[in-house]
Amino acid sequence: MPEAGESTTDRRQRLTEYLGEVLTADDKNDLIEIINLALSVSPPVGDPAVLEGLARTYRRQVDDIADVQRRVRHVADTGIPDAWVGSTGGLAAEVVMAAADSADAMEQAFEAAAKALMHLADELTAAQSQDKRGREQLRDALGMLGGEDGFFDDLVEKDAEEAERLRARSVAGNGVSNLRSAAETADDAARAAARDLNKLASEARAGQMKTDSISAADKLLLADTSAGDPADDPAEWNELLTANDLERSGRAMERMNARDQAKMEEMLAEAGSPQERAYLMKALAAGHDLKEVEGFRDKIHDKDPDWLRRHLTPVTTAGDSMRDDGRVPSGGYKGANANSDEQWFHDAKWEQEGNTCVPSSVVTGRAMVDPVYALGLTGGRDGKEDDADAFTERLRREQLRLHEEGDGLNEYEFPFGGDTPAGMAPEGGATIANKEISPHTGGEYAYQETGSANARRDVLPDIEKSVAEGRPVPITLDGPDTDEGHAVMIIGQEGDMLQVYNPWGHTTWVSEDDFVHGRMDKAANSTLPDATGVHVPAE
């Protein structure tokens, strides 16, 4: 009988243990006990036929969507006269372009969902078949062994009995091995499907904004607006409003009284660009009230998209950022991905000063979710500054403020250097993440140790769901050759790749497998391969 609440990770872990025990069992009764324990682990659950049916339903929709997509793209490519539509001033041409992009995305999403479900069905079929084969082998092994020995039977094992036991052990070993492979196949396939489907759900972006104050046309436009440089940064990796932003800003609009709603709509209508409009909504999503959004608007109004990106989006993702250029061979970055995106404000990086990786990650994390805060750092009190040195000075001060807020350790620099930061405990990291990021995204953080591959595999779906929705996830890196640790932040996910911001001032991509199996040095250096702790955001 399967144990209640048995997780897929439990299953593969238990079967790995049983496999080791079967292969070393030198007693008939022990072998019988282990075989029965292995048989008590539940087989992979799920109905492949239902999954295939769902996949076919999604695939049938693709043709209809493709037809819509072709027609909308034709209108977008042909061009239409300048005219204002929507309640907040989106240009008709922009709206049609956004609709075409949205139709493209929808076609791809349905195709991807069908593929994910079909893949899951195939893998589950294979896993269940392999599991069945393994169980038959285990039952055969039990048949070969017969009943358990009594006390006196157990005292002497004849040669023939030993030979039969060893043969049964070999058959049982193959059986448990099949059960384990089946559990791994089903577990990996289910995680991959959950990851892909969660990501696709978060990409149904315009639908996240549940408010009547914004027209469907404007929702499309807002969801389609990119923060990146069109020349280098793909729009789909640099969406200005995350799924969480769209949902929170819609809710904020709904909570406003009629007068405030009208004011907000007026600001949106008067915005100088789609980017300005989206940043106003992002400020609203970050929890700022109408008065604060008005003040923010006054500072950014009519600024060009480059100025807005530079001042309000600390991290952008280049189109070639996933290319594998190998690893840095030596030096301070030994083992790191050679391909990384350094994150600049003019010629100053969004990087830590001194031993402040924990607060520095959180400062950049907050700046990513709260454009009003980002502008305070880049543009100063009046929001008008555009100077790298002044930015660096403000960034340093803010890193130190959070260092104090998180009760960071300080050390005295002998003889007259004064106090300098000397790291922070994980509890301090949780404190500042909750004070600085949570109020602007809506999800509290809880620190979770992830010292093993299984623990990291288990936490992955939570991480991926969070970053797909736009909530950064701070993590701790460590390794056997160091005792200092390092704080970085997972900020994005595409397929089985995770994007990591390192407060040394860069972002790079690692695979899920790298995260689970101790190859996070790709995001830092060879002394820091293991993700040993994660600040997991709650819903």
């Binding site: 301070g332 970055y333 790191a336 600049w344 402040t356 990786c357 002998f414 640790g485």
Partner: protein
Amino acid sequence: MRKALATALLLPTAAVALTGCGLFGPTTYEPEERAAIEVDAGEEFTLSVPANPAIAEYWYLVKPHPDRDVVERVGKRLETEPSDPDVIGDGDGTLYFDFKGVRPGTTEIKLLHCPAVVCTGTKDNPEPHPTSSMYAPVPTATGTPGNDPAYFIYKVTVR
């Protein structure tokens, strides 16, 4: 605010051990002493530079390499200081470039300082350099290493 008292108490001892009094080994020179280093032929000496692992700070010996008839390269060592394992992001370290005076003469040793910046050789340019085009390191006169890559040039005279 918490303070690392143990580290503070250890620092004076460490400072004596690291600075160039010659009691415990080769004379050691800090970056601010690089303008005029004088050693005897056959004498070993060390250039000591800060290399904080918490910010991936590192130094590279770059071309033009010192005249081999004047000084000989002996080796390179990185020493990091232990920190509290329950604390994230603490770290301190020192990189030592060891040399030996060969024959009387004067030469220069050029080090590239890279704080939190990827510096490495590439196929086209095997000499370590910042991989980002945003950096164009130049020789600096400052004593304290800063936040951008820079060259530190040590002038060494062997007596």
